[in-house]
């Protein structure tokens, strides 16, 4: 992939560049918002790793150009750790986020999710996703867990569909509220109770979820990668 690292800290770029290069990616970097905009205009990009704390711009201002113009995926790397910053970035279109300091394995895992997502065929609407234990068929509104069909209510299915279509990525509460209730302002309590019903039906141990993970203050993440099938 072509990866743009936007960070004002040279030592971070110097560390990430050889690592990502050794994995076969092409890396360019930008130290501030202006350089980043130039890079977005100039090169074909697949992924942008964006530090929100830039010296000249609010990192969030770069999200729209990255998504709209470069059609690239975007992972926010933030040292601020404020939930509202992350949520804002995700609602503006960021695909995922990683907190500084991050484990390299964690960052590489997030990058792999982006890579697989981008390899999926765009355009043709995917109606069936599959992983080792789970099959979700949107056309037939079917969820099959370990060969057992699971019955989901329409609202549960709508929420689960969004998680499945973004499997591996975090999905914000706001995005889930829009999917389930067509309104971002419904009581968060509704969302929590529907998520807990989903866990009751899908998790082996609902009190220790391994499939639907909570990202505190941000949203939820489906922890497995679902393969799309045409």
């Amino acid at each position: 992939m072509n990866i743009l690292i936007v960070d004002d800290e040279p030592s971070i770029i110097e560390t990430l560049r050889p690592v990502l290069s050794s994995l076969g990616h092409d890396v360019i970097d930008a130290a501030n918002g202006a350089e980043a905009l130039n890079a977005i205009e100039g090169a074909a990009l697949d992924l942008v790793l964006l530090d929100l704390g830039l010296p000249d711009t609010d990192g969030c201002d770069l999200i729209a150009p990255v998504k709209d113009r470069a059609k690239a995926s975007l992972i926010v790397i933030s040292a601020r750790h404020l939930e509202k910053d992350k949520v804002r970035a995700l609602d503006l279109g960021a695909d995922d986020y990683v907190d500084k300091p991050f484990g390299l394995d964690e960052l590489l895992a997030r990058i792999r999710v982006v890579e697989r997502r981008r390899a999926e065929t765009y355009g043709a609407a995917v109606s069936r996703y599959q992983s080792d234990d789970l099959v979700v068929d949107f056309g037939r509104r079917e969820v099959i867990l370990m060969d057992e069909p699971i019955h989901l209510s329409p609202k549960e299915f709508a929420l689960f569909e969004l998680l499945v279509r973004n499997s591996g990525h975090v999905v914000t509460q706001r995005q889930l509220m829009i999917a389930g209730w067509s309104s971002p302002t419904v009581d968060g309590q509704y969302l929590r109770s529907y998520m807990s019903m989903l866990r009751d039906k899908l998790e082996a141990d609902p009190s220790d979820p391994e499939l639907i993970l909570t990202e505190p203050g941000v949203g939820y993440r489906l922890a497995i990668m679902m393969e799309p099938q045409a």
Partner: protein, 489 residues
């Protein structure tokens, strides 16, 4: 009641006597019409001066005197003929009617006047209270208007939980009965106390105590006091709301500041940890295969970032020292010359490519300071000069002594500093220009200032210089006696 009313009554009697005398003389001179007119004039004058009650009294007395002394037969009541009855009747009716009419006019004029002056007074109270923005001012304002109109003094007691506070003194009174008891001060100024509640929109605000001159206030006085209490309550409530708003604003501001500081510190501390964690992760990873040269670079980078973390920790510790205060027993008399040389050596070791020029007299310059802290302060200034101007040319360190002070100038030939940034260079977490990455935590000059000022010195920055660019930091310290001289003294 008081002397003014007595004088008024005496004057009215005098007018009455004069009128009687005048009438008598006119009657003697066989001028009955003149006599009646003089008498009537007296009654009207009294009515005009003293109002309805006095006018009626005067009219009745006049008709009695007229009948008894002046009309035939004199010195007894009674009427001898219808010819006499007509003027007597006419006189009585005229005296009573004129007295009543003019007296009533006078009374309502008097009332209007009183009402107007009361309204004017309340307006003054309102005006003064309007301009008060602090609780203390409210009491001062009302005390500037009262004593007045039968009120000797005013005391405000604000409810604070279960206690009372007097805003002017700030004294807190936990005894809830205290406002109702006479204390030493009030023994001197005796009078009738009247208490009123200061009622606000959110409940009782407290009490106001008026000390009155008269023992029994009349109704209009009470309604006046009520109006004043209402105005006071309004003013007190407004001041309380203003105070609350100001407090909320200050809290929000310090909260924002704290957020900014925390976010700045967390960013600065997390960056080196991020690099260390990522580099160590890459070295351990089986997935990432790096050439030996690259692995070596990663190890160096980890060591560098550890040093950076250590530096940040030391800086935060220094800030802590400044905030907790540097005490006299941490200071000693040291030679500034030696300290400057140490700081320069330190800077040279950290920045091997830095060009340092020095112009320092060989004579010792003793100052009272803490050696390690002073070295840190000077190093921070040199480090800052290197950071912002070291690439453009040498950093000059010059020292001069004059009279009782020694001056240290550290000058760089960098681009200088923006004018709008100049006031902030010595503040915490300030980073020059827009390149936050190269400037560390933004604590260097803040620490330098804190240390230098703890040694009774001053530090300032001048930029741009005569050359149009560059910056010069000047540290001034008071010279101390040399340790030998001090020992000899």
């Amino acid at each position: 009641m008081n002397s003014r009313t007595l004088v008024r009554a005496a004057l009215d009697c005098l007018i009455f006597l004069v009128a009687v005398t005048g009438t008598y003389l006119a009657q003697q001179a066989d001028r009955p019409i003149t006599a009646v007119l003089i008498f009537l004039t007296g009654v009207i004058l009294i009515a005009f001066r003293s109002g309805l009650a006095s006018a009626l009294a005067a009219a009745i007395a006049a008709s009695f005197v007229y009948n008894f002394f002046l009309s035939e037969p004199t010195f007894r009541f009674g009427i001898t003929s219808a010819d006499e009855a007509v003027p007597l009747l006419a006189f009585n009716i005229a005296a009573i009617l004129a007295g009543a009419l003019i007296g009533r006019l006078k009374d309502s004029a008097q009332k209007a006047h009183t009402a107007q002056s009361e309204t004017a007074f309340l307006l003054t109270v309102s005006d003064r209270l309007q301009s008060a923005v602090k609780l203390k001012d409210v009491e001062l304002a009302i005390r500037g208007i009262i004593p007045r109109q039968g009120v000797k003094s005013v005391h405000i007691f604000l409810a604070k939980g279960k206690a009372y506070v007097q805003p002017s003194t700030g004294e807190v009174e936990f005894d809830q009965l205290k406002p109702f008891m006479d204390d030493a001060e009030q023994e001197r100024e005796t009078g009738k106390p009247v208490f009123m509640e200061l009622a606000g929109a959110r409940g009782t605000l407290g009490l106001v105590k008026f000390l009155l001159v008269d023992m029994t206030p009349d109704r209009s006085m009470m309604s006046n006091l009520k109006s004043i209490a209402a105005l006071l309550a309004l003013a007190v409530e407004r001041c309380l709301l203003l105070e609350e708003a100001a407090e909320a604003k200050a809290a929000a501001r310090s909260e924002t500041l704290k957020d900014a500081l925390l976010s700045s510190v967390s960013h600065d501390l997390r960056t080196p940890v991020t690099v260390i964690q990522a580099a160590a992760g890459a070295l351990r990873s089986t997935e990432v295969s790096l050439p030996d040269q690259e692995r070596q670079k990663f190890l160096n980078s980890i060591l560098e970032q550890c040093a950076r973390l250590d530096r940040y920790t030391a800086e935060l510790l220094d800030v802590g020292r400044i905030q907790s205060g540097i005490t006299e027993d941490q200071l000693e008399i040291i030679d500034l010359n030696e300290i400057v040389l140490l700081a320069m050596k330190h800077a040279q070791a950290v920045h091997p490519s830095l060009k340092l020029e020095r112009n320092i007299p060989s004579k010792a310059a003793f100052v009272r300071a803490n050696g390690a802290m002073l070295e840190q302060a000077i190093y921070n200034v040199i480090d800052n000069a290197q950071k912002y101007g070291g690439q453009n040319g040498p950093v000059r360190v010059e020292m001069t002594s004059k009279e009782a002070r020694v001056t240290l100038n550290i000058t760089d030939s960098g681009p200088g500093i923006f004018e709008h940034e100049r006031p902030y260079v010595f503040t915490r977490f300030f980073k020059g220009g827009k390149e936050s990455s190269k400037s560390g935590m933004g604590l260097g000059l803040f620490i330098a200032k804190g240390f230098v000022e703890a040694f009774s010195g001053t530090i300032s920055m001048e930029s741009p210089l005569e050359t149009g660019n560059g910056a010069r930091v000047t540290i001034e310290l008071p010279l101390a006696q040399s340790p030998d001289a001090a020992a000899a003294a």
